[in-house]
Amino acid sequence: MDLFFRLFPEAWPDWLRVALSAAIPAVLLLTFMAVGPIVYVYAERKIAGFMQDRLGPTRVGPYGLLQTVADAIKLMFKEAIYPTGVDKKLFLIAPCLVVLGAFLAMVVIPFGGKAQVADLNVGLFYVIAVSSLSTVGLIMAGWASNNKYALFGAMRSAAQIVSYEIPAVMILLGIVMIVGSLSLQDIVLYQEGGLTHWLLFRYFPIMPIAFVIFFTAGLAECNRTPFDIPEAESELVAGFHTEYSGFFFAMFFMAEYTEMFVISSVASVLFLGGYWSPLPNHILQHIGPIGLGPLWLIAKAWFLVFVMMWLRWTLPRLRVDQLMYVAWKVLLPISMVLVVLVGGLLMIPATRNGFPWDRWVGWIFTLVIFGALIAWMAGARLSKKRRVQDLAA
């Protein structure tokens, strides 16, 4: 933001310059975030299809690419119905709050050295505060739509998001202790120097567990399987957004996918080294004058989004009390132990900068994972014959 601030001539009044320099990145981010769900919905339906041995959307546009554009336009022009007995004002404000909660967290995400809307020195604290804003919106939606199922969905989502923030915050505590600053920019700068310097491989067995816990808590934050209980299709029909239709339904949809991208980008900033490329000493970090920082961050975030979608089409759904059990009895104790361990290890001067084997474990870990994925990909040929008659041939 201060980048644009110097662009404007000093003669203008300060409030105008601040307003303008804030407006430009805001508009940029808004378009990026509005286009995002169009891509995610298409990617989700294609991945879901391919995982279930079917093709997914192929009709609208080449390979179904325009499918979500068509959906968006349809939702734009569809009539937004207000059922009787609906609390009109709350019914309208709720989706806006949910979308707001998802967008605001984008402000502090560092896409590049200077490509960050605002480098708040309380970055992490701000992210946690803002992401719980959408809970208010969900409860408002559930309460306002005067429908028993929506009320159930709202109550469940309130309990879920609140109880999953605590393990997430504990893990952030560990990260902040290591890095020493709350600002996301400093966290990313701390992880400079290739894959092995990423916080994911710092204190090797501890930080991957911390990453898994943070990722699970993030899943619960944006109501994704196995924690999609607020809008559990099979029990509560559609949870809090049962009564919404038309553009408001699109807003809920947009908020969910934006929240997914936000959680993934925060996770990749904290654990996967933000906009640094995995190769050491800045190889592939920029080609000529153009920095590839944002590209790397978005690639990592999209891989995590893919993992979220991958989980959605593999796992069944937890029940509400099991959800609470996992949050309070499993994630919380482990994250507390991790925080204490990290604190202790930091105190000992020998392990001040991580275990000695952190350096080469990073490479082995990634190679093992991607190798296994490719190996499984190879053994995937199912029988080509689709009809039984050609089985006989």
Binding site: Q52, S234, V237, P316, R317, R319, A392
Partner: protein, 384 residues
């Protein structure tokens, strides 16, 4: 602190009547559940059925004996081969017809293939009720292959009118035996182990189904639960073993019984586990039946089909092991008319649903859906 004069239990919230269905994504058809819930916990449940009632028994009295078979197919539309087999066996005992072993073997093959297809739907939709969408589509992909086989043999994919009184409507096409063996090999090699890993061994699925809807044996027998619902609670009661019909005595297979690995015996998980293991058993039976078929010479399938079905004045209650349980036909013939005098069907899902209000007390709402899924009811058969 001054006490405000009310005690805690004045504060209990009053109970809410929640209407689940008949328009609900996971009630396996048109079923309305009236739940009295206190927060998430269900205090009492009352199922309302009858939305899909098509007066099967009145139709059966106005159509002649072979004409009833298309109606029996439409009762349990997910496993209609089982229904028409039960009806055909009942009328054959009335007419005292003994069908040739060739036809009996084909009937066993078709019934067991239909059992695999029906259990594919049952286990698949049960996974979807719990939230796992992918296993459902994998199982449907394989069910399509079985429906292809049925269409290849008798021309229809869902409602076959294949088992006639005294024989079959079509003979097996050439190459059927080879294709069926190839399909079964693929089913046992790929689909079955994948289903076990993806769904049944999944910890979340186990946690969601292992200790809910536990149905002790006395309640199961008193409410006449049959088939996988009864075997899930322990007793190995299978009509194909207890009272073998249509040549089941010369195939060996185990009766799959719930083991209660992950929780009390008779839970939703056990019922679903029995259905999954039963699919593998049925595949074994079809293999043995195909071997028998190859050793047999081809008899004409219309040989014993009587021109005019007019049974003498008598009545019979005959039972057969349909995929969902024991399907009983009570047929009264008055010896004069061409139409049956009275056909009463005891459908396994009807009795399975009658135990619902007993099992569903004190459950969560999410478990109610899991319970309906594990009882594997088809509303077409409940409402007839």
């Amino acid at each position: 602190m001054a006490s405000y004069g009310w005690r805690v239990d004045d504060l209990d919230t009053d109970e809410m009547i929640l209407n689940m269905g008949p328009q609900h994504p996971s009630t396996h058809g048109v079923l309305r559940l009236e739940l009295r819930t206190d927060g998430e916990v269900v205090r009492a449940a009352r199922p309302h059925i009858g939305y899909l009632h098509r007066c099967f028994e009145k139709h059966a009295e106005n159509v002649d004996y072979p004409g009833v078979i298309p109606y029996t197919d439409r009762m349990d539309y997910v496993a209609s081969m089982g229904n028409s087999l039960g009806y055909a066996l009942a009328v054959e005992t009335l007419l005292k017809i003994e069908v040739s072993p060739y036809v009996q073997t084909i009937r066993v093959i078709m019934a067991e293939l239909q059992r695999i297809a029906s259990h594919c739907v049952a286990v698949g939709t049960y996974g979807m009720d719990i939230g796992a969408f992918t296993p459902f589509l994998h199982l449907l992909r394989d069910r399509e292959k079985i429906l292809d086989m049925f269409e290849w043999t008798c021309g229809a994919r869902l409602l076959y009118n294949y088992n006639w009184v005294g024989g079959l409507s079509h003979d097996l096409p050439e190459g059927f035996v080879k294709a069926c063996r190839q399909f079964l090999r693929e089913f046992e090699a790929i689909t079955y182990p994948e289903l076990i890993d993806l769904l049944l061994k999944n910890k979340i699925f186990v946690k969601r189904t292992a200790n809910i809807g536990v149905c002790p044996v006395e309640v199961a027998v008193s409410y006449d639960l049959t088939g996988p619902n009864l075997r899930g609670s322990g007793p190995p009661r299978d009509l194909r073993k207890d009272a073998p019909y249509s040549g089941y005595e010369n195939y060996e297979f185990q009766v799959c019984v719930g083991k209660g690995e992950f929780g009390p015996l008779g839970s939703c998980f056990d019922r679903n586990w029995v259905r999954t293991v039963e699919m593998a058993e049925s595949a074994k039976i079809v293999h043995q039946a195909l071997d028998r078929l190859e050793k047999m010479e081809r008899a004409d399938v219309h040989e014993k089909v009587p021109k005019r079905v007019k049974p003498p004045k008598s009545e019979v209650y005959s039972r057969s092991e349909a995929p969902r349980g024991q399907l009983g036909y009570f047929i009264v013939a008055d010896g004069t008319g061409v139409n049956p005098y009275r056909v009463k069907v005891k459908s396994p899902c009807f009795t399975a649903m009658s135990v619902f209000h007993v099992l569903s007390r004190g459950m969560y709402i999410a478990d109610i859906i899991a319970l309906i899924g594990s009882l594997d009811v088809v509303l077409g058969e409940i409402d007839r």
